[in-house]
Amino acid sequence: MQIPHHDAHVDLTTCDREPIHVPEHIQSHGVLLAVDPASMTVERISASVTALLGGSPGDWLGAPVADRLPASVWSAVEAAARDLEALSATPRHVYFGDLGQGRSFDVIAHVHEGRLLLEFDERPTGDDTWADPLRVTNDAIRVLGRAEDLPTLCDLLTQQVQKVLGYHRVMIYRFAHDWHGWVFAEARRPDLEPFLDLHYPASDIPVPARRLFLLNRVRMIPDVQYDAAVMQPPRPTGTVPLDMSYSFLRGVSPIHVEYLENMGVRATLTMGLQHRGQLWGMIACHHYDETRRLPYFMRTAAELITVAAEMRVAELLSREQATSRERTAKDLHVISQALAGHESMRDGMEACLDTLQELVGAGGFVVWLGEVALRAGEVPSDETVGEVVAVLRSRGCRDLFHTDHLAAHVPGAERWSAMAAGLLAIPVSHADDAWLLWFRPERRHSVSWAGEPSKPARLGPNGIRLTPRASFEQWIEEVRERSEPWSTVHLEASEGLRTALSDVLYRERERLTALNEQLAQRNEELDGFSAMASHDLREPLRAIANYARFLREDAGEALSEADLTNLDAIDRLVRRMYALIEGLLMFSRLGRTPLELEPVDLGDLVADVLSDLDTTIQEEGAVVEVTTPLPTVTSWRLGLEEILANLIGNAIKYSNGAPRVEVGMVPPGQRPEGMPASDDMLVLFVRDHGIGIDPRHLHTVFRIFHRLWPDGRYGKSTGIGLSIVRKIVERLGGQVHVESAVGEGSTFYFSLAPR
């Protein structure tokens, strides 16, 4: 007889709803009796009764069980039925023995939904190939006790189960949080294709199947090609079907049969592995090309091994989690040490970059400090990272953010799925735009499969559908653009890191504030000092100059040529020193004078400066040209005037022949390196075609009191003009820069915020 559902159209999406606990038939290697416990009469019986126990279903239906069973069996059943409560949802072995015709049966009884269900499981006579179940169980449990970690435990478990039960392939199938699963361990006949590491979508072991494995741990299908033994009488429409959740003989879902047949599997044994009331995994045994039926006592041995394994799984899982937490704590310690050992957070993180990446088991890691500051492992382009940060910022992300599907949050991120399908991000400081980002690759790139992906998939009767390979492909499709999800331990680790970093950041900020205060105080002291010094130095200088002059006035007649030359020297030196002091005073004053911001028309300002310099321009025959239109800015008029007067004055001074000077503005695209490229800032230049500056001296030109030429060669210099320029520019939030070539001239640039 064929399985009735076989020809029906099978739709995989219906699996989660398929009522597999009420198939209305059983596997034909046993007999199922549904008995009314009140009258102890047979209500329904499987058609297999005729072949195994004798008599047609009609002979049994309605008959008292006592009349149909040998007295020894009946008395065992009756004894068990006295405590129906004990049998509720709990199949118990009530009898083993000859039921006539020389055939021995194990009888298992349980109560479910008000019915007493009796199952008769024939034990083949002369089958003494089975080892002593107590001994093998004992051995297996001892071996399992040796495992120190989960992978080893599961390897040993598959080996022991294969050894004790003799199936061709034994796998530990493990469930993930999303109920997809993968082959976590495998023992197999060497010629079989490995399934190790294959992942399967959650729909492969649908909800009803998972539920049954929780209720009824051991499930055996001795022959996939069994003839269905239909329950008699057929269920009248409108009545409740017989619930076979706890029955070991329960008929198999046609979809499952198809799946097994497609794999070439003839017989299976499956045991659910529970952890904390949930299905953690399964021990799945496959037998190929021949049927395999375990007697009741061997199934019991298998169940015992499973229970022992569950205990060890629980122990090793918590050990695994503890180890993982320990490793995290150790990593965090290493990171804290590195952070403590460096002045800046950035340097601290650079010193432990690998640990940071490993902390949360990421494929790549980025430290973002306004831009990509540090990177480790496989990470997307800086531009993409920037887009990711922009999205996080726009979400107002204040806490940890994690996803195993980045593309769902950042448009276009699917291009980077290979290395960045998943993201874990923590904002370190919004003020500093500081983020830590971890990336995980797409799962298809992170799972390994022992099988050969290039080998053509084996075709089942319905094509490639319902084969492990097809399942794997389907799973790969389901997790496209997705990474392995971030575990609790990893999320906790990143939170821990965030706390550590905020401490560092706090300390860093405190230190900076203290330094700033110190610096401000020093600057103030220094400015005060130079102002005072300048002032007090000027008075004696004036006195010296005056006395020298009085000497000349009062004793002029009596003085020799040499005396007069010496007096000239005193006068010259006093003036020089006076100029230096003036400069110093000016320089220190620049640091203290409050900035007065007002609209300044730069064109007018240059014209003013040129008119102040008119005498010099006339004397030198200089041509000063404004080459671009100049805007009006809101700035410090006096400061800007000082800058331009110094730069244009220098440009005229350091020339051979008639000086040619250009003043103008540089548009963003044409600015030299060292000048801001953004159009938030203006960049002005003063260019001469004079003597130029030796490249060796370029970096010192803005240094205070530093001169490049002796007096007389190009007029007099105090060496303070350019340092004044720099000081003003910096006070206005800009920068200075010079480019020069000896003999060709120099161009001085300075940047300026228009507001």
Binding site: R538, E539, R542, N546, V574, R589, R592, T593
Partner: protein, 144 residues
């Protein structure tokens, strides 16, 4: 008929500077009665000791950086005093700090002049100051 010399009160701690001042005045041929105080307190005592009519200076020439009571404080005291505030005070200092200039005018100084390094320029400046305050301006009646 020669006019009686104008009295100038100069508050100047530096003997050198006072010497330059005297030399400049001499060279300029200024007919002045110069009263010199080395400190602000000395100057204040002098002013407080003046009775009605006689000896009132037409001008106080004030150095800013003074030992003891500072020239700035002295200025504010004069300008806060009902009895003294109509006396013209001209600051004559080596300081050219904008903050000093700002401070003095805010406290009603009548003029602020910087001492020049060059003696000729100093002389020219003093000629201007003294000439102006002794001949050009109309002053209130002597404080009584």
């Amino acid at each position: 008929m020669p006019t009686p010399p104008h009295t100038i009160l100069i508050v100047e701690d530096s003997d050198d500077d006072f010497l330059f001042f005297q030399r400049a005045c001499r060279q300029l041929g200024m007919n002045l009665e110069v009263v010199r105080s080395r400190t602000a307190d000395e100057a204040r005592a002098y002013l407080d000791g003046l009775g009605a009519g006689a000896g009132w200076p037409v001008l106080i020439l004030l150095d800013l950086n003074l030992p003891g009571t500072d020239g700035r404080t002295f200025l504010t005291e004069i300008k806060d005093s009902e009895r003294l505030k109509s006396l013209p005070v001209v600051v004559y200092s080596t300081s050219s700090a904008p903050s000093d200039v700002q401070f003095c005018y805010a406290n009603h100084v009548n003029a602020f002049h910087q001492k020049h390094l060059d003696f000729d320029m100093m002389k020219a400046e003093l000629a201007d100051i003294l000439g102006y305050w002794t001949t050009r301006v109309r002053l209130p009646r002597s404080t009584s």
